[in-house]
Amino acid sequence: MKVALSVTCVNDAMFPDVGKAVVRLLRRLGCEVDFPRAQTCCGQPMVNTGYLDEAVGAVRTYVDAFAGYDAVVTPSGSCAGSARHQHAIVGRRAGETGSDPGLASAVAAAAPTYELTEFLVDVLGVTDVGAYFPHTVTYHPTCHSLRMLGVGDRPLRLLREVRGLRLRELPAADQCCGFGGTFAVKNSDTSVAMGADKARHVRSTGAEVLVAGDSSCLMHVGGVLSRQRSGVRTVHLAEVLAATEDD
């Protein structure tokens, strides 16, 4: 199966190890993984801030970069949600303004973008990916994976099969961590208040590692946990699933 990795702009620039982990994991599971060099960003930062015109170029680049693949896989619930729910909005706008009249139909014809755990469980049909991660872990379901995509318990089913991993339940897990894209800076006080509560719940579990499927949410909660000198580190789900005894 020929799979295109949509690494996401945040992982590309800030968390390259997450992208490497996806490549390693998918190859281990027998996929042929490609990284289309033309990709940039799904456009979500602009769309969610209200800058639809500014997102047209990014969305066009996205659909062109991933044309012709069987599936697009991304280690982000948020970016998968953006591709599946917001690209059509940008396409419509580009048609209305005439900036890219063909974008809407290109978006409609694009291959589906899967969030990593959807791809593993639904397309590859695996929950045991042969991972080994000997740590005490708690898992935060990010809002867009939970509510926009509806990934349900797929991430937990994958984590439960990881050897050596001790999973602790996170209280109030489905409450937003407070990242919210530009919300994190536009409303930084509220964002930090939410992050502090999330961090408090994480610490109450006694876990040493907080796992989630979105690097930006992890960057936010991790930033709070780090500032608190809490001794909890954040690791993307892809890195946990990619880890083996050889590491």
């Binding site: 620039a13 190859r27 680049t61 809002c143 937003c176 409303n187 930090v192």
Partner: protein, 502 residues
Amino acid sequence: MSRTFVGMPPFPSAAREALGDTQLRHNLAHATGVIRDKRARLVEEQGDLWEPLRLAGAAVKQRALDDLATHLEQLEASLTAAGATVHWARDAEEACRVVASVARSHGVDEVVKVKSMATAEIELNEHLEADGIAAWETDLAELIVQLGEDLPSHILVPAIHRNRAEIREIFLRRMAAVGRPAPVDLTDEPEVLAAAAREHLREKFLRAKVGVSGANFAVAETGTLVVVESEGNGRMCLTLPEVLVSVVGIEKVVPTFAELDPLLRLLPRSSTGERMNPYTSMWTGPAAPDGTADGPQEVHVVLLDNGRTRALADDTGRQALRCIRCSACLNVCPVYERTGGHAYGSVYPGPIGAILNPLLTGTGVDEQTDSLPYASTLCGACFEACPVRIDIPEVLVHLRSKVVDGHRGDRPPKAETVAMRAAGWAFADASRLGLVEKASGLSGRVLARLSRTTLPWGRPAAGRLPGPAAAWTGARDLPAPPAESFRGWWDRTDGGRAEGER
């Protein structure tokens, strides 16, 4: 949009102040948590029936909105046939004038009120007061807000920001000036507080000649108005006074009586977390003149626009008019739970307020209203909870784009606009992005050198940064950018193959 909240700063600064109020934070977290859990239990109890019920509720309201003019004309005809007097009000001013003139024509200087969002929206009490007419709120929470000369902070529980001790204090201090005083031995037991309110209100109910209400629903087919409540104060206001004036937003219309069914099941479960609310009052015009039924002899209905046709004209925003004011979206909202309602600067706070206020007044009117669509992380909890399936995140993003579009001509452009244009430029072409990442890698190496903080996994962190970045680093560490981007690694290692990655 409202005078009572005039001078409210934009959401981020109002929120900052609220976040510092520890009593408020505690009261809110407790109160929203309790209602949230009650609602969640009832939704779970409905199981597979809940989603079809939501779809049915949404469909009824949508059907009414899709042909609003026809349903409103039918409502007017039914009401008139039933003996009610119908008034049309374009805005708050007109609506308030109607209520004041009805009160004056009966020579009264006071009215009793059923809790109503429409009358709060048009600031009826303040208008009447200016006309020398006292409007007594009879809902317990509204009474607390009114006595405390406070502002409402929740749709259903306007005094949610107050705890028992604060309420006792307000009763002791304020009741005497406007009627029967609170007993001197008042405690902060909920039953004792409720009893004091009951005593205080009773004389007002028995004296008042004019009652004022809103309506949860207005049935076009029959001309029936519906008020749903918990305390019975509404039933008193709707049946004791001789004259009743109801201010009803035009979006409250429901085509047929049978279509109330899903709505009356959705509303109590979503608002108070009850299967059924204690009091559902329905009336169709005045009571029979022969005295066989309780109720007013004279019934007026003010059909209120006040921005609703503006909202209706917005293709994406229109769905907000389906709102049945249950406040489920407030109770599940992580932002509301921490900031409370006052930060939104309107009688409509929380997620619904963040979309409804800009839809009613339009974007680009003032900075405060324009800040509301940004008062959300787009986590989607509101949409998930909304009984009439209003996709609040979708409308929020849509309104953000309207705010941005309103500033496209600004000279010089806002810093944010410049940043977004730059991002849009870089993201339109991978080679541009590659250059940006190389620069970022360089800055990462510099920051790593300067860094005195190490993140828990050994990666250097950027310390407190100046300028706009301070909004992040004031309270959160930020990892320094890595020396090499993923893209750079892929190129250098041929997709990892050069590193022995298969």
